[in-house]
């Protein structure tokens, strides 16, 4: 907390009108055009509001369930409705509340915390939000039509197969959730690129706020975990709609494949939810104790290690499925390992509190509540990591108790702490300490009263998901207590909502500000444009390190104190050292991203109810709006811009320096994760049902010449892309431009032909996808490759269109770089797919 002086980039007084221009550039549209707003604070507050709405809706479902279970033999709701209630409660809480609210807080806080004016793709944030809101509301409304999914939030087949769940209920889950996950991935891309490229100068990785670290790990986990469940939903929907038998044992499928794919997503999902919450706690504790976080580096290490280790635990959800003893022991041990990094964080927070003097504010109370409740949930987690114990309590209320302790304690308490902690940064009034204390007390009592007795109900043998139970089994009292506890929680939440309604007055430019005397950048005075100037960061708690920083930033003494182009700008820095790299021209409000999201939501939802033609029309419209939206981007090089301290930066970068390239790389990682999940499915089903795999080279295996031809065409596609690159570099002349377009077209044709050829190869040997799990998986490789190739074809044609309209040249080439990157990846994936489908069965013969 020592003050040091270094020369500031800009001198005073600032030019007249500089601030007014900055405000004009970042102005948010009013009236109904507010729907086009993309500023992170507005999208953030919309997003948080929507997530809280879903939290309340799912909470109401929980109250109905608790009323039903309050006494034995109750008949408030019937069995079918109860099935829908618990399915929707779990699904909405996990997919429509927990992940989105974390992304929302990220969108809201990260730019301010990193010292940026906005995230690099604000329209993508807006797209993710609108897609989530519309998709989520429609998904929830299925409950009122009696069409809500009813197979449990993890939707195990065969219960959810078309044979046992013939209506549209399961389709609502599969398509609805698949779509919402796309929205989550869009948000994750935004967060990764934002954190890596828009940190304030000097904010090296070891000076980055812990919350940003947590969000980076969170977003990285989404990239690798969500594709597994996207693939799972795709497989189940293909099975339900077209009888491709991935999970039907009669045809060589295996319902356990679903469990593997689902839990490969589902277990990391718990940490996806918990890590950002831990990040919030790591921000609140130092502020409330007035000392820097003890063990900053250890916490970063713990976050990263948890991110990795959490991918090695999924089988502990499947201990009762009859897997071999060796796997049981392996995953049991792996489940215990993950407690080490979690405990490191807990000890760090306790040490920080011990080294300072904790102010008992509302955020502190919620943090203390989190520590107590989460540790109890963690301990029961260690209990269920032990196989013999898990066998006893699997699918009982003990598990319900455990997961609610972990999720409410580990996520909801930190979320309320965060609401109370950061509200003054975005509101004209701070929230009430009195109401907050009452809200905390009621929630803390309610949580323990609701969930603790569930341990005993579970140990007494009460299975989860029963809609009623007979008296005299020892379940009566625990259930009654749980119901009372649930209503006390609801009262606590209601008090917080009353507090928000009374006191939260959103303002991006006129907020109360740093009421806690915190040390990080989000507490700088902010306008609608973020901080007036972008500071240089010299410490992890810059506001403590340099007490005059806030005034200096507000005076415009640091970088980019105004707008150089008259538009929205933010500083892009290098990914590791955070040195100024270029000035990003940030896109402003637009209807295009809004309509793209609305029509994409409509596409998925109409498809769910089998209205194929209108769905396709909406899909085309959505794509049209996406193209129109992207058309305005990639502005090309302009004059260098002075940002202060005599530094002049370009406003455009290409290749790996471009933020856009980073986004494409993350997207490729998503595609690769989905492909790896598919390859796993193929080998897994093969190991389970070798009898449906070809038994001889002549048995439903196309001649190798098919694969060889397809491979040659794919490689030709890649070579065409390299030629296109060469032509673009040289292409000032008309001939060069035509060479570029021709080679791009050639690449597009090559990839499309290769995909079609692979389909023909399988078809001509008489293989049909509904025949067996083998056939279904072989065709799924073509489907997955086809999706990628379709995206590449669209991007290729789009790139050609930009070339023909003069928007692509050797200097203005970000669009081409992205197309090229996707094309090369599609070729690589196609070649690996060919090896798996054509060569691996032959190797086993």
């Amino acid at each position: 907390m020592t003050e040091k002086r270094s020369p500031l980039p800009n001198r005073l007084p600032r030019p007249k009108g500089e601030l007014a221009l900055l405000e004009k550039a970042w102005k948010v549209p009013e009236g109904w055009r507010l729907l086009t707003a993309v500023n992170n604070t507005y999208i953030g507050v919309f997003y948080i509001g929507a997530a809280l709405l879903f939290f309340i809706l799912a909470g109401v479902l929980a109250l109905v369930m608790r009323l039903q279970l309050a006494v034995p033999g109750n008949e408030i709701v019937g069995q079918g409705t109860y099935n829908q209630l618990f399915t929707m409660h779990g699904t909405v809480m996990m997919f429509l509340f927990a992940v989105p609210v974390v992304e929302a807080i990220g969108v809201m806080l990260l730019p301010q915390m990193l010292g940026a004016r906005d995230l690099p793709f604000p329209r993508l944030s807006a797209f993710a939000f609108w897609a989530y809101l519309v998709g989520g509301l429609f998904f929830f409304s299925s409950l009122f039509m009696g069409l809500a999914p009813d197979g449990g939030w993890f939707m195990y087949p065969p219960l959810t197969s078309s044979r046992y769940s013939p209506g549209d209920n399961s389709d609502f889950w599969l398509l609805g959730i698949g779509f919402i996950e796309i929205s989550a991935i869009a948000g994750a891309i935004e967060i990764i690129v934002g954190i890596m490229r828009t940190r304030a100068p000097g904010m090296t990785l070891d000076k980055m706020p812990i919350f940003a670290w947590a969000m980076l790990v969170f977003a990285g986990m989404i990239v690798f975990a969500f594709p597994a469940v996207i693939l799972a939903t795709m497989l189940l929907e293909l099975e339900r709609s077209f009888q491709w038998p991935f999970f039907i044992a009669d045809k060589g499928g295996d319902p356990l494949l679903w469990q593997h794919l689902f839990w490969f997503f589902g277990h990391p999902e718990v940490y996806i939810i918990f890590l950002p919450a831990a990040g919030m706690v790591s921000m609140i504790v130092p502020t409330m104790t007035g000392v820097p976080l003890v063990g900053y580096r250890l916490i970063v290490v713990a976050l990263v290690a948890t991110g990795f280790f959490s991918f090695g635990l999924w089988v502990h959800h499947m201990f009762t499925t009859g897997i071999p003893g060796l796997s049981l022991a392996f995953f049991s041990a792996a489940s215990m390992v993950v407690t080490i990094p979690s405990a490191m964080q807990v000890f760090s927070w306790i040490a920080t509190m011990a080294s300072g003097r904790l102010r008992l504010t509302v955020p502190s109370l919620f943090v203390l509540g989190f520590l107590a409740v989460f540790v109890i949930g963690g301990l029961t987690g260690v209990m269920v990591a032990m196989v013999p114990f898990d066998w006893q309590v699997h699918d009982t209320y003990f598990i319900v108790a455990h997961l609610h302790y972990v999720l409410y304690g580990g996520m909801v308490f930190p979320l309320f702490a965060a609401l109370y902690y950061w509200a003054p940064a975005f509101s004209k009034r701070r929230l009430s300490e009195t109401l907050g204390r009452w809200s905390f007390a009621l929630q803390f009592i309610g949580v323990n009263l609701a969930y603790f007795p569930m341990h005993f109900a579970g140990l007494a043998g009460m299975p989860r998901r029963v809609y009623t139970y007979p008296a005299g089994l020892g379940w009566d009292l625990p259930n009654l207590l749980s119901t009372v506890g649930a209503f006390i929680i609801a009262l606590g939440v209601l008090l917080c909502l009353v507090d928000l309604a009374r006191n939260f007055r959103f303002s991006a430019s006129d907020a109360v500000g740093d009421v806690w005397k915190a040390g990080t950048l989000e507490w700088l005075p902010n306008g609608i444009y973020g901080p007036r100037s972008i500071p240089i960061v010299e410490d992890r708690e810059p506001l403590w390190y340099r007490p005059t920083l806030a005034d200096e930033v507000e005076e415009g003494r640091y970088f980019l104190p105004g707008t150089k182009t008259g538009g929205r700008e933010t500083l892009v820095t290098t990914p590791f050292d955070a040195a100024p790299d270029y000035v990003l021209l940030v896109p402003g409000p637009s209807w295009r991203s809004f309509w793209a999201a609305i029509f994409m939501a409509a596409f998925f939802l109409l498809l769910t109810v089998k209205l194929v033609v209108p769905a396709m029309a909406c899909g085309v419209l959505s794509l049209g709006f996406v193209v129109a939206w992207l058309w305005q981007t990639d502005p090309g090089p302009g004059p260098k811009l002075a940002i202060g301290a005599g530094i002049r930066l370009p406003s455009y970068r290409t290749g790996s320096s471009s933020h856009s390239w980073w986004a494409m790389i993350v997207l490729v990682l998503v595609a690769a994760s989905l492909f790896v999940a598919l390859a796993f499915s193929y080998f897994y089903i093969w190991s389970v049902s070798p009898q449906v795999w070809p038994q001889a080279a002549s048995d439903r295996l196309p001649d190798l010449s098919w694969a060889a031809t397809t491979a040659v065409i794919l490689v030709a596609g890649s070579i065409a892309l390299l030629f296109a690159d060469w032509a673009l570099k040289r292409g000032g002349t008309g001939a060069g431009r035509w060479a570029l377009r021709a080679t791009l077209l050639l690449a597009v044709a090559a990839l499309g032909t290769a995909c079609f050829l692979e389909f023909c190869a399988q078809w001509q040997v008489g293989l049909r996808p509904a025949d067996s799990s083998y056939a279904a998986l072989v065709y799924t490789f073509t489907v997955v490759q086809g999706q990628l190739v379709a995206a590449f074809i669209l991007m290729g044609l789009y790139t050609i269109a930009r070339s023909m309209t003069g928007k692509l040249n050797a200097a203005r080439r970000v669009t081409f770089d992205n197309t090229k990157c996707l094309g090369h990846y599609a070729v690589a994936q196609g070649l690996v797919g060919l090896f798996i489908v054509h060569v691996s069965p032959r190797l086993a013969l």
Binding site: R297, V304, F308, L326, A329, F330, S332, A334, P575, F576
Partner: protein
């Protein structure tokens, strides 16, 4: 990029070790010898990362290597002791 790769090297070794053990056990059958060999190699790799990183400014990489080592040892213990 080099810094980033070094930082993530140890957990990536953990991941490779995990995948190898799981893959071999699931698809080919695992013996005690294979488990010991793979775990030995993984420990060696992580120890190398720790050795390279121990003097670098900021000790996050070295700590992450130690944590990954604990993960590798703990999760493979049952496989080495109970290979059938």
């Amino acid at each position: 990029m080099r810094t980033w790769l070094l930082f993530l090297a140890a957990p990536l070794v953990w991941f490779a070790h995990f995948s190898a053990l799981y893959g071999i056990a699931a698809f080919a059958g695992l013996t005690s010898t294979v488990a010991w060999t793979l775990t030995g190699l993984a420990c060696l790799a992580v120890a190398s990362v720790w050795f390279v990183a121990r003097r670098s400014p900021g000790d996050m990489t070295a700590w992450l290597a130690l944590l990954s080592l604990a993960g590798i040892l703990f999760q493979s213990l049952p496989l080495m002791l109970m290979p059938s």
